[in-house]
């Protein structure tokens, strides 16, 4: 069965600093990978997704993520964080050829200091 690990429960960065949120997955074949963001009091919004092709994917709000098969990772990055990026971030993996229902990680809470 597929699984997702987000090793960091909380991440604190200063506004303007770079950001990397880690995501590791466990799945035998090529996974489908997603990052979602949840602002306080809101539902989840898709930031970006990887299905195939170029391993560096661009998303909304200036985020990008890189799929590294050798490391079973799909880390989310942003070069310069804004205070409005403070939110909960979820990585998710969906299996190919199966039900396609994604499995979510436990989330990483991003705190941005001014």
């Amino acid at each position: 069965a597929q699984s997702v690990t987000q090793p960091d429960i909380h991440i604190t960065v200063s506004e303007g600093a770079s950001l990397e949120l880690r995501c590791n997955y466990s799945y035998g074949a090529t996974p489908y990978l997603f990052w979602y963001v949840q602002s306080p009091g809101q539902g989840l919004q898709l930031l970006l997704k990887y299905f195939s092709g170029d391993t560096l994917v661009q998303g909304i709000k200036g985020f990008e993520a890189e799929f590294k098969r050798s490391q079973s990772s799909f880390n989310l990055r942003k070069p310069s964080v804004h205070w409005s990026d403070a939110a909960e971030y979820f990585c998710a993996v969906g299996e190919s050829g199966g039900s396609y229902i994604p499995t979510f990680g436990r989330g990483t809470s991003l705190i941005v200091h001014p």
Binding site: I9, G43, L44, F90, Y100, F104
Partner: protein
């Protein structure tokens, strides 16, 4: 724009009550989902539905049931609410046939006292 609407943002119910959480989507999506979100546990799938009148159990279906009488509406039912069902409930929908992204509602925060 895609929209998933959950009828209540906040709900307070008493132990033993029957609770209905409603979700409506306007995207003509076949797939609909109910998740439960708790701090430190992420999102856990309760039930999902591939089509009208079809439902499948997710990872934590105990204590819950669902109803999908129309394509656009997916209801989550707590037959007899208990305090351990106090949580944030998220509804989502997606297109069929692939690992498409889920579209989420804003959630219903349910408190059972």
């Amino acid at each position: 724009d895609v929209k998933v609407t959950q009828s209540s943002r906040y709900l307070v119910k008493r132990t033993g009550e029957k609770v209905f959480l409603e979700c409506v989507q306007d995207m003509d999506h076949e797939n609909m989902f109910w998740y439960r979100q708790d701090p430190g546990l992420g999102l856990r799938l309760i039930y999902f539905s591939y089509d009208v009148k079809m439902k499948e159990k997710g990872d934590i279906p105990e204590g819950y049931s669902v109803s999908r009488e129309k394509k656009e509406r997916f209801s989550l039912i707590l037959e007899s609410a208990s305090t351990n069902q106090t949580s944030m409930y998220l509804c989502a929908s997606s297109s069929p046939g692939g690992p498409w992204a889920l579209h989420f509602g804003n959630g219903t925060r349910l408190t059972v006292t």
